[in-house]
């Protein structure tokens, strides 16, 4: 479970988050969208413990990120905007490091499986700095999925993927959601979000201005109203 409860955050008097609240339950694949500067990255930084909220509570897997940071992070798989993969490790070493740190059982097999699933087997022994942007993204996502955490957060992590890579990742995320993970994704490509997510949260000026359920998304598709239209209406 990923939860933010009445979170406020300001930088030098500029209110970025104004009582932001949402809850993502196991099995949900939720997209967080909003204009540039709406507070998406700040919200993710707070829920992952990289920034402190001025007020309110953020928790992962039921653990408060401030008071139980270690337990909360054990529940988390996170892919930041800039991938954050060690440039001087090979792809296989990155996954091995994550497996060792998170004490993943039967890690060799799982690493093998993920490398194969994300089409990285051939590049497994190359330094990640030699990877293309899409390969780095796939590796970062594989590293987040490796320990099978109950909460997964992707900060604009689907950018830079080619159609095949994007399809691989979408499939993997749906599988993980079906297995009971709570997944939060931010992004600007509304088409991708619409196809992938079971629920969309629209963040505008620091609060959720629209919470679009799966039923509403389906209804929109049937009536020919695109997510883009909803977005433009809500952020006008």
């Amino acid at each position: 479970m990923i939860e933010l409860d009445n979170v406020h955050k300001s930088f030098h008097g500029n209110h970025v988050l104004r009582g932001l609240s949402f809850k993502i339950t196991p099995g949900e694949l939720v997209g967080l969208i909003g204009p540039n500067g709406a507070g998406k990255s700040t919200a993710l930084s707070i829920v992952t413990g990289q920034l402190l909220a001025d007020a309110g509570v953020a928790s992962l897997g039921g653990h408060d990120i401030v008071h139980e940071p270690l337990l909360a992070r054990k529940s988390l798989g996170y892919v930041p905007q800039e991938s954050g993969v060690e440039p001087f490790l090979t792809g296989e070493e990155v996954l091995q490091f994550v497996a060792n740190l998170r004490e993943v059982e039967d890690s060799s097999n799982q690493i093998e499986q993920l490398l194969s699933q994300f089409s990285l087997l051939d590049a497994r022994r190359r330094l990640t700095r030699e990877y293309s942007e899409g390969m780095t993204r796939r590796l970062a996502i594989a590293a987040a999925l490796l320990p099978k955490p109950p909460a997964l957060i992707f900060d604009e992590s689907l950018n830079g993927l080619d159609p095949r890579g994007a399809r691989l990742v979408r499939g993997a995320l749906r599988d993980r959601a079906a297995a009971g993970a709570a997944i939060l994704i931010t992004g600007h490509v509304l088409e991708t979000m619409e196809r992938l997510c079971t629920r969309i949260l629209l963040l505008h000026e620091g609060r959720i201005t629209r919470d679009i359920s799966e039923a509403e998304l389906t209804e929109c598709r049937e009536t020919g109203v695109s997510l883009e239209q909803l977005y433009l209406d809500s952020t006008a």
Binding site: T42, L71, P80, L89, N100, R129
Partner: protein, 451 residues
């Protein structure tokens, strides 16, 4: 949990070295060896200069300056390793226990700074050749002790300053580590200064211990200082560990708050930066290239101007002393310039994008050469001015004026080599910086030794 962190560090180091390739590796090794030869020769000439008269005092003074120089370096760089190393950012969202993280950070700080012990070891190599083994060992051990104790004190100072960012921190502590300035200033100014002050005190204690040993033949004060210092180091590390384990999860995001400023937090930028007045003397296209480079450079490396001020004061004091020779002044000024003021290494690196945008924009390599040269001139001129001021104060204006001129000549030669090399190789300039700095320091050593 510490195991994977240490493995990560070791594997990254190994792969980084392998990735350099044989030619680049040779360049780095060549640069380091050349710098070592230069340092050895410079140290040799300085120490041998008074082997006949006041030798013991000279050796002791050299030992003290070695200790102080290392303290000056690691007071700030230990802060950089503790808080700004990119590794910690990558680990920020992983479930790493604070205790393991603390040990990993401490080990990283020590590993990065242990090579500083080579400063007395190499610069004092002439003592070895003169069979002055005890003097050489004394300097190496003393600097090692300062590193051992001083790094622990520094780590404590930085983490203690970090704790002052926690809400509800003790106001006295907040004041001591932050002063009355804004919270953001705490990390940048006060904790490195605290670390330096404490380490310099330890170095002074060791120096006093040596003086007591030389003059009275008594070991007691030296033992007292050493054991007291080691006890202080243990206390500092234990206390730092306690603070870190308790507050790391708050300090790290607070620091991120301070460091990762969203655009609106920086506020409107002033278009007036140091050196912008030169635009008036430049033709249109070159003026644009200069504004683009200089503005970025000054905003990114804000610390350079105050650092120049501090180094100018130190150089002026050094050159103002009647006992300082013209060669020593020249060597020190050029060594400082080579280590700190070769702007092309910074400007052509990946951060400012001089190399990449030069390829995408209609900017000729010659224009880049000119603006980088102007930047170098702005950085080396204050060094010369400081030498002249020192000469004026010490009544040796003519001598020091000549030294100042020679400083500019050396700067022109070093930058004349560095600028085209950096423009050509941008943004991969790290290796060439090793080679050029090494060779330049070697040349300084050779010239000092010959003169």
């Amino acid at each position: 949990m510490l195991g994977p962190l240490l493995w990560l560090s070791q594997a990254t180091r190994r792969n980084r070295w392998r990735d350099l390739g044989p030619r680049a590796r040779s360049g780095v090794v060549f640069g380091v060896v050349a710098a070592a030869i230069g340092l050895g020769l410079a140290g040799d000439s300085w120490l041998l200069a008074s082997l006949v008269d006041g030798r013991d005092e000279r050796v002791r003074s050299w030992t003290f300056w070695c200790m102080l120089t290392t303290a000056l370096i690691f007071g700030y760089s230990s802060f950089e390793v503790l808080y700004r190393d990119p590794l910690w950012r990558r680990l920020a969202t992983l479930p790493v226990s604070p205790r393991a993280l603390f040990v990993a950070k401490v080990l990283r700080v020590y590993r990065r700074h242990i090579p500083l012990v080579l400063l007395p070891a190499i610069s004092g190599s002439s003592l070895l050749m003169q069979s002055e083994y005890i003097a050489w060992c004394t300097a190496v051990v003393a600097t090692g002790l300062v590193l051992l104790i001083g790094l622990a004190v520094s780590i404590f100072a930085h983490i203690w300053a970090g704790e002052s960012l926690v809400d509800g921190a003790n106001p006295l502590k907040a004041y001591l580590s932050q002063g009355y300035g804004p919270t953001e200033a705490a990390f940048l100014f006060y904790s490195p200064a605290l670390a330096l002050l404490a380490t310099a005190t330890v170095a002074l204690g060791i120096e006093v211990g040596f003086i007591a040993l030389y003059l009275n033949g008594t070991w007691l004060p030296l033992f007292g200082v050493v054991f007291g210092g080691v006890g202080l180091a243990v206390f500092c590390l234990r206390r730092a560990s306690t603070i870190f384990v308790r507050w790391q999860h708050v300090i790290a995001p607070k620091f991120a708050d301070v460091e990762v400023l969203p655009p609106w937090q920086e506020g409107a930028q002033s278009s007036r930066v140091f050196g912008q007045w030169l635009v008036a003397f430049l033709p249109g296209a070159l003026a644009g290239v200069w504004t683009r480079l200089n503005t970025q450079y000054r905003r990114r490396y804000r610390v350079l101007l105050p650092m120049t001020g501090v180094l100018m004061v130190a150089l002026a004091v050094f050159s103002g002393r009647s006992t300082t020779s013209i060669v020593d002044v020249w060597a020190l000024a050029v060594a400082v310039g080579v280590l700190v003021f070769i702007p092309s290494f910074r400007a052509c690196g990946p951060e400012l994008g001089i190399g990449s945008t030069a390829r995408a924009l209609p900017i000729a390599a010659r224009q880049n050469h000119v603006v980088l040269g102007m930047l170098a001139l702005l950085e080396w001129t204050p060094l010369s001015i400081a030498v002249v001021i020192g000469g004026l104060a010490g009544g040796r204006l003519l001598e020091m004026g000549f030294a100042a001129l020679m400083v500019l000549v050396a700067g022109a030669i070093v930058n004349g080599i560095a600028i085209p090399a950096c423009v050509l190789l941008a943004p991969r300039v790290v290796r060439v910086s090793f080679a050029i700095r090494g060779v330049a320091l070697c040349a300084v050593g050779v010239i000092t030794s010959v003169l």
